[in-house]
């Protein structure tokens, strides 16, 4: 599934993807030359991680300051305990793409 042109991403800036054809809100982050894709919703409460602070490979939830590693989705401290999902990104013909099956909502993400 195509998300956006890679040229639209600025390093250090989080891009939020909310579209009817994308099952869950996503956050895209370019760090160096790599692009990371995570679920945008914090695993603790309904906060949008794309509103959070980015520091290297970590993104901090804007409400309660749990930091998630963009590579593994793991939080560093409570209140979040559960990891957020990370999605494998491929750049095809200048478009950022993820596997649609990896985006399907689960019982966890529906909370």
């Amino acid at each position: 599934m195509q998300l956006c042109p890679i040229a639209d991403l600025t390093p250090g800036v989080v891009t939020r993807i909310v579209r009817p054809d994308v099952p869950v809100p996503l956050a895209l982050v370019k760090v160096g030359e790599r692009v990371f894709c995570i679920d945008d919703t914090c695993s603790h409460e309904t906060a949008s991680l794309s509103d959070g602070w980015l520091d290297g490979h970590e993104i901090e939830c804007p409400l309660h300051e749990s930091r998630f590693d963009l590579r593994t989705g793991r939080p560093d401290c409570p209140p979040a305990r559960r990891p957020i999902r990370t999605h494998v990104v491929q750049v095809v013909d200048g478009m950022v793409c993820v596997d649609a099956t990896s985006l399907a909502p689960t019982a966890e993400t529906a909370r």
């Binding site: 509103d51 804007p62 409400l63 309660h64 409570p78 209140p79």
Partner: protein
Amino acid sequence: MTTIAVVGTGLAGVRAAEALRADGYDGRLVLVGEEAAQPYDRPPLSKQVLLGKCESQDIALTDDDLRAVLDAEWLLGTRATALDPASRALTLADGRNLHADGVVIATGARARTLPGMPRLRGVHTLRTLDDAHRLREDLSRPGRVVVVGGGFIGAEVASSARALGHEVTIVEYEQKPLLRQLGPDAAGILGRLHTDHGVALVTGVAVTGLVGEDGVRAVELSDGRSLPADVVVVGVGAVPNTEWLTGSGVACDNGVLTDERCRTTVLGVVAAGDVAAYRCRGGRLRIEHWTNARDMPVIAAGSLLATLRGQDPTGQPVHDPLPYVWSDQYGVHLQIAGRPGVDDVLELVSGSFDDSFAAVYRRDGEISGVLAVDSPREFGRLRRDLRSAWSIR
């Protein structure tokens, strides 16, 4: 084998245990908690729990994975009643003794009550899960609710009671709610939140009596008025749980006194969370906020382990965080950082004071605090500015 006892199984106690294990402590770990319930998080009590939007299991602070990592003995439903400074032995309410090489005091605070008031059905404080369940039960019937105290807990309870369809009045002793914490401008803005949502705000008066035989019927005010009430919630602050330390040699004065590294006046005893009044910037701070209870035990655990290992304590990190608190009221999310003074000037940065906004406090031109309503991104940016100013001060 070494034994460390953590007294109090709220957020600070659980985090201390977690930090001890993360720091490599592999001795015996005993957690003593007065509440019989498995450790849980308090912020949802006045919000989601009252609204019936979440249940006990949703606010658990531990899960199987964490309990396995902690590998602790849990003495729940057990109060510590004394600490002997010489042997560092704890006396438990059931008469048992527990010897410990190191002790973490994480006994938190309890809700303050109105002095000299009769005990009537329908009158509540809100600190524990039991409190929340009892209050929720009373709010399940139609009735008039009077909230005494316009602080964060009072405001959240009023908001939840209103959402449940009750007629709600807040009685606040100051001229505006949160006046001393946030200054007149912000207090005015947050006060309007109540009235905009149909909650009556009665300010500048004290509660002088509670009327009723069995259940409460009315609240009497210092200006002679009497407010009819079926449910009264008293939200007038919290008192640190330090009485059990009498005679222990652990110095207390509105909280357990600690140094910058969370050490008390007794070697091998540290304190963290709502109960701890720590030394900071030449003064003392006792912070009753969630984030402090999350972060302070990590420092306390580090300094306790250094003591037990005979290491130089000055090599350990100090506790000097930028204070941070959030609150959810009437569907809006408030965030406050720093310790703004009452006379600091509130300056709008983005949005509008009538709606969502981010604002800073300034003292002599310098940023001293950040206040945001439904503006998490902007709050994060401004908090960074404040953090730099805070760390050089």
